[in-house]
């Protein structure tokens, strides 16, 4: 009997073992010792479980076990075979909302408005179509991208024309605050099957404090009015929302979840503040400690689980990213938490000036005056210069959890990833490994639920499969 490669770590009174493809098993401490020293002496049911999950193998089955494990590992890393799928285009830095934490350093000042020109947009489209990926997701960002709706329409039309030749599957996403919304917009979104990603920061008072209205009208009322219009005339499944947690919402996250449920949202992404843009400058005023965020996150996750068990479907997206990797053979598609990192190879950002960046955070950093991660420009560099260039390769090589010293032996390696820009920013701000602490504590929280609460496991499966909790309980 031989042990296949695994990693381990303590979860409460048990030892969690995980393997390269993300399968996991809990062992009591005495059984873990036996697993290490003499696996043949494990109780038969446990030994069989460990064999079925490729932690142990009978010597005569070694070749089969390695082949199977390799297939599972390749499946987990399938995002590598497609190359860059997500292409983010920044249309403008102009915005009609003054969010107190704006990560994109958007501006309501006309003098600071940088927008994508038609000529640069055309070049961006030609770049995008050179991606070897057969499936593309094109996401429009800002500022507020709908303020440059004509450019968005031009890009979609030009991409459609180019695609007669390339024949790729193309999805579109617009990240909009939903303050500017017309019937023309709606028809356009419907025609091209857009997904709409918006922001809702909780109940009215929190939302309007975080996302200050530019005019006197409540931002909250307008967002919900337009959200209802999308649901009624398009589809509630095509719109999702993000909750950015400020110090105002941190103690009231349960109320924020209630607001989402009341307005018919089926998912909520609880996002802590990122140290970019205005948020970096106002972190002292708006921020909170990682410990406070994690305590609040744990509390609200408990609450979300209770709601689901009472029959109210509401999925937490950050947890779902990890759960997808823990409970299924697949990765999550979330480019900020994967290894090798998504930077450039899964996601790329085209800025208004034609600059190419490996992630949204990289262009946010550049907007703050630090263009360390700029890969080149669509106006002066070839696709090969950028995507096969040493700068991108070095970025990827230097940020693999599998070989990062800090991650050595960590059992969460199969579920985790390093965002190179975030790591750089954390080091610069002298808070190294903040993301590691955040992710590892959230993963620990999820494993604790899986270990202690079989009902929670059913809720998690309902989030991943769309099958209701009640059906899974039958």
């Amino acid at each position: 009997m031989t042990k296949l490669p695994f990693r381990y770590g303590r979860i409460q009174d048990s030892m969690l073992v995980t393997n390269e493809s993300g399968q996991f098993y809990f062992l009591s401490i005495p059984l873990f010792r036996r697993f290490i020293s003499d696996p043949d002496m494990l109780p038969p049911n446990i030994k069989n479980d460990l064999i079925s999950k490729f932690f142990l193998v009978e010597d005569e089955s070694m070749e089969f076990a390695l082949e199977e494990s390799a297939i599972k590992l390749r499946t987990k890393k399938a995002f590598l075979s497609t190359f860059t799928e997500l292409h983010i285009i920044v249309l403008t830095y102009a915005c009609n909302s003054k969010c107190i934490y704006c990560h994109a350093s958007s501006s309501t000042d006309a003098k600071e408005h940088h927008m994508l020109t038609m000529a640069t947009a055309r070049r961006v489209c030609e770049y995008i179509m050179q991606s070897p990926s057969t499936t593309l997701k094109i996401e429009f960002q800002g500022g507020e991208p709908t303020l440059e709706f004509n450019i968005m329409m031009f890009i979609v039309e030009y991409i459609t024309t180019l695609n007669v030749l390339y024949r790729k599957n193309i999805e579109y996403v617009v990240c909009t605050n939903l303050l500017v919304f017309s019937q023309e917009h709606l028809e356009f979104y419907k025609k091209h099957s857009f997904c709409i990603s918006t922001s809702l920061d909780g109940p009215r008072d929190i939302h309007d404090t975080n996302r200050t209205p530019y005019n006197t009208q409540s931002n909250y009322s307008k967002v919900l009015e337009n959200y209802q219009k999308v649901c009624a005339e398009y589809s509630p499944d095509r719109v999702s929302a993000l909750l950015t947690v400020s110090k105002y919402s941190l103690p009231r996250l349960r109320e924020c979840v209630d607001a989402y449920v009341d307005h018919g949202f089926r998912s909520i992404f609880i996002r802590s503040l990122n140290p970019y843009g205005l948020a970096e400058k106002t972190l002292g005023e708006l921020g909170y400690s990682l410990e406070d965020f994690l305590a609040a996150y744990k509390d609200v996750l408990d609450y979300i689980l209770i709601l689901n068990k009472e029959g109210i479907f509401i999925r937490e997206e950050l947890a779902s990213i990890f759960l997808q990797k823990i409970l299924t053979p697949f990765s999550s598609g979330f480019v900020d938490i994967q290894s090798p990192p998504g930077a450039g190879i899964s996601c790329v950002v085209y800025d208004t000036d034609g600059g190419v960046y490996p992630s949204d955070e990289a262009r946010m950093l550049a907007r703050c005056g630090d263009d360390s991660f700029r890969l080149g420009s669509v106006l002066s560099d070839t696709y090969q210069d950028i995507f096969l260039g040493e700068k991108l390769q070095k970025l990827i090589r230097g940020n693999l959890v599998e070989i990062e010293a800090h991650c050595y032996g960590c059992p969460y390696i199969p579920y985790c990833g390093i965002d190179p820009v975030r790591k750089y920013q954390e080091t610069k701000l002298n808070v190294p490994y903040q993301s590691c602490k955040k992710y590892s504590q959230i993963i620990t929280l999820l494993f604790s639920e899986l270990k202690n609460n079989p009902d929670s496991e059913k809720v998690f499966f309902s989030w991943l499969t769309g099958v209701s909790y009640e059906e899974l309980c039958l």
Partner: protein, 89 residues
């Protein structure tokens, strides 16, 4: 007063020591003699922290030994998963 402890080099390897050092805040500096590591803790630290650090070193030593024993199989696994078929043994 800050507390110092010495650990024989044949008990804890440099790699285990560094891994533990990276994870712990109970040690502020490490010095090396021919035969020992000399660890100094931050001022006014609880003397129990040195024991905790030593325990962490030993855990890292075990982890290193296990990781090393699995390295050849892990390499085969990654080759099988990602090398082009034409390059596999």
């Amino acid at each position: 007063m800050s507390e110092s402890i010495t650990i024989a080099k044949n008990v804890v390897s440099k790699r285990a020591l560094l891994l533990a050092y990276g994870e712990s805040n109970s040690t502020s500096s490490i010095e090396e003699t021919d035969t020992h590591w000399v660890l100094t803790g931050p001022k006014e630290q609880d003397s129990g922290l040195s024991n905790q650090f030593f325990r962490l070193c030993m855990e890292k030593e075990v982890k290193l030994a296990l990781e090393e024993s699995m390295a050849p199989l892990r390499e085969i696994l990654y080759r099988k998963a990602f090398e082009p078929i034409s390059k596999r043994n």
